[in-house]
Symmetry: D3
Subunit: 196 residues, 6 copies
């Protein structure tokens, strides 16, 4: 099979992009070693690109009560609900890196109920999955269940907001048939100490 | 019954907010006559607030190939899938205003298949509903169906991106049990000429 | 968009109808100020018409342990499950009138879980929704939950029978693409004292 | 296991019933050889009883373009969707009798797609199943599919109205845990000539 | 309607089958009085045939902590989930025989919740139905619920393994449109003493 | 997190197993370099073990019209439907090996619709997914769609039977909370030439 392209919509050339968009892309390239396709696929609409990554930074890059690994668990589990290949593959890699556990990306993607998780992590994903799948049933009882596992109300907001942001992100990826970079599949497959 | 509050999370006082956030809120208050609760409920996290409304502006406020009424149809129909009271009530009002049709907000919210829509509008909502409900099944065949109704690929991106943004928005509203302002229910209930 | 007709099946002329059917229609016209389309759409089969409205009267018109507003809540919530535009619009109007609350029709139609309801009303709608959606799971445990909220067994029968009747009614409306009268949308939109 | 009762609600004594209700029950007893439990379970509310059986007569007893066997197929198939033991067992017996085929009741109840049906019968049940399960998706395309199989629009109304009536009937049976008479299970199990 | 064939795939002649396969078929014919179609439909692949019936014997023919009637209840209830006409009809007959209850086959097939079952039998079927429908949600809590009803862990394995085997069996039957022998429908329809 | 055990049921010691079961286990250990946990988890019931692997050999080990890679695609895709961690992880490894494509295991597990597949492979998985999810809707039309892509009827039987076998296998894995060996996750992650 010939590989599918990065996106089913036009992808702009880097040199045609506004300076700030180009700068953001260069930054991630330096840090990661390659340009994740989401940056290229979304760059065709600079204002949406800026809002998307500003939102991403506010929720994911920002330090908060959730560890980096916990945030990536939420992303992987809820993106698996929507069968979003881009988000599961790219964030599965990040989950392996931040957890130091090379098995966790696949485990959480396939079935979070049987993954090697603590009761607190399991409760976090149960709540996120409910908001992802049946948001109309999410309510104060779900918030209370999280508080009982030691999460603060700010943590609950983070859990919910990350889930909500990837409900958007998954749909953008499906809209343009966004293809994950081949590099992601292999990242973090060797055991390390947890640092998330 | 006592009314439920605006949000189940803390709502900041206006005077404690960053200047730009406060300015945005004042602007909408002047335009609308009241402050829609979504501004108050999200203001507790200024960076998320800024990203949210920057995204909103890029998709909804910006002029594009879709009319204002078409955009609101997408918002109402897909928010009804998620039973999001805030978004259905607030954007139902906007749909009545922009379409000049006092019946359309309720019709689209209850069942877009039986609403007074053109075949083009129906096709637009069929695609949006698919991306809202089963994004994993959305694909090039759905894009082609839209092109056949005269939409451009840029329009398709708009239809998909608005749907994606409200997948986020609906979940934020459910996360904090966001309550629509009472004012929205009555807006646009009298017939007018379509101006969307 | 040209408006869709009252029904996708033939609608008889009033003068061609049996006397009792015509009398019933005149009565509702005098009381309501217009003839709700359900009367015209069903009149083509006089025996079914008679049975339908005899059933309606036995459950809805008859005084019982449930208030008028409670009955309309059941109708609106369960008809929203079936996305029945006729029943949601027509009975949303009645719910606004009988509850004296101009917001309640829309709230119950969109998501009864976030509507301004008492715990008793919420329990009533939870039971009705279960019987509407998954009748095969309804059982004695659901009856007991209602008794605990102060309903009698006769009230439980009413809740169940109203739900059952509108399972029929919603399907008749979908069968003939029954269109709600435009008048219903605007009724009861101003606040009043509750009288249900 | 001790057998479960006829109904989880009170069942009136025959002698306490209004004359016309009692007469109707006697009539069916003479014809059938026993009193089907639905008559006893519903008799506690005479007005609802009268409306229920008037509706039943208008749809099922009345001669129409559908054969008796076709009507019972619709009842059995759609009642199986709702896992309604009373209706599947009682009308499975009637289907065996009217079709003269001792296998058809079980076949249609388990999976109408693999039952020994003509294409016309299969199309009829496909439409009925759609109206039973997802009434909000039923529309003119479904009507046209039936017309192509030789049904008239009056037949379509019958197919839809019978489906709608048993959506009610199934829910009444679940509401009161209505138990089918033991007699029904064995009726019509020997091959006969079709007479439906 | 002309009857459908035994299978939509080729069915081998008995004389062309390997000796052991033929012997197995003769054995069942002597015991049952006819050859159940599943033997003929699967014989076209002798190795699969041998594995299938070796598995069947290990789970169903073997003596274990579950009675013969209990095993057939599991088969009938879970096969009804998959609307498998062959398995429901053939094992409904066996359930009638082993339970001595001519009503139980149909009751369990239509809705196990309203069947004449003990709490232990009901718990057994609740667990089996969960593993049949949503195996990804089955877990230690379900095992514990069974232990509380007096089942041993070996019984739990039997319940689960029988459910798993018929998940296979139902799909093989649908793959080749396997038709139940007419004889099954009438077997065990007269009351007897329970001997399962 | 401490790792979960191989199985929630007792796992026998190798030396306590019947000779043939032990021999089979040694064989796979020599070939693979470790004992896949499915062999240990199922060995507690030797007759079921023998039937399971005889069935596996008849469908998977046996040469047939389907390539080794095609068979593993079916296993991975349908096991992902049931969120079976054991089967997705173990057979994802085999799919990477047999296809020579280190990305294909994850792609097929997450969303076969966006995987790098030929139209023939896509059609094969569409049919398998239908039989896995909604076996009651599988029929001759699905068989014909496969024949049009160049599959023979024997291939169709293979596709269906492999799907059916893993419907069993997935449920056995969920029954005993079967844990995949850590080794599987890393196997086949480097690109090779396709040899399946």
């Amino acid at each position: 099979m010939a590989k599918l392209p990065i996106s089913s919509f036009t992808v702009p050339r880097l040199k045609d992009l506004p300076k700030d968009v180009r700068a953001r892309i260069k930054l991630v390239q330096e840090k990661t070693g390659f340009v994740p396709n989401v940056f290229l696929a979304l760059a065709r609409r600079p204002d949406e690109f800026r809002a998307f990554f500003a939102y991403y930074d506010a929720l994911i890059t920002r330090e908060s009560g959730l560890s980096k690994a916990e945030k990536e668990m939420i992303v992987v589990a809820t993106s698996a609900v929507n069968q979003c290949t881009y988000c599961v593959v790219a964030h599965g890699a990040l989950l392996r890196i931040f957890s130091g556990n090379p098995l966790l990306g696949d485990q959480v993607a396939i079935n979070h109920r049987s993954a090697d998780l603590s009761p607190r992590e399991r409760a976090m994903l149960d709540a996120a999955m409910k908001l992802a799948r049946e948001p109309q049933r999410f309510g104060e009882a779900d918030v209370l269940a999280l508080l009982e596992h030691g999460f603060t109300r700010e943590d609950v907001w983070d859990i919910g907001a990350i889930t909500a942001f990837f409900a958007l992100s998954n749909r953008m990826a499906h809209l343009c048939a966004m293809r994950p970079n081949d590099e992601f599949y292999a990242i973090g497959r060797r055991a390390r100490t947890r640092r998330g």
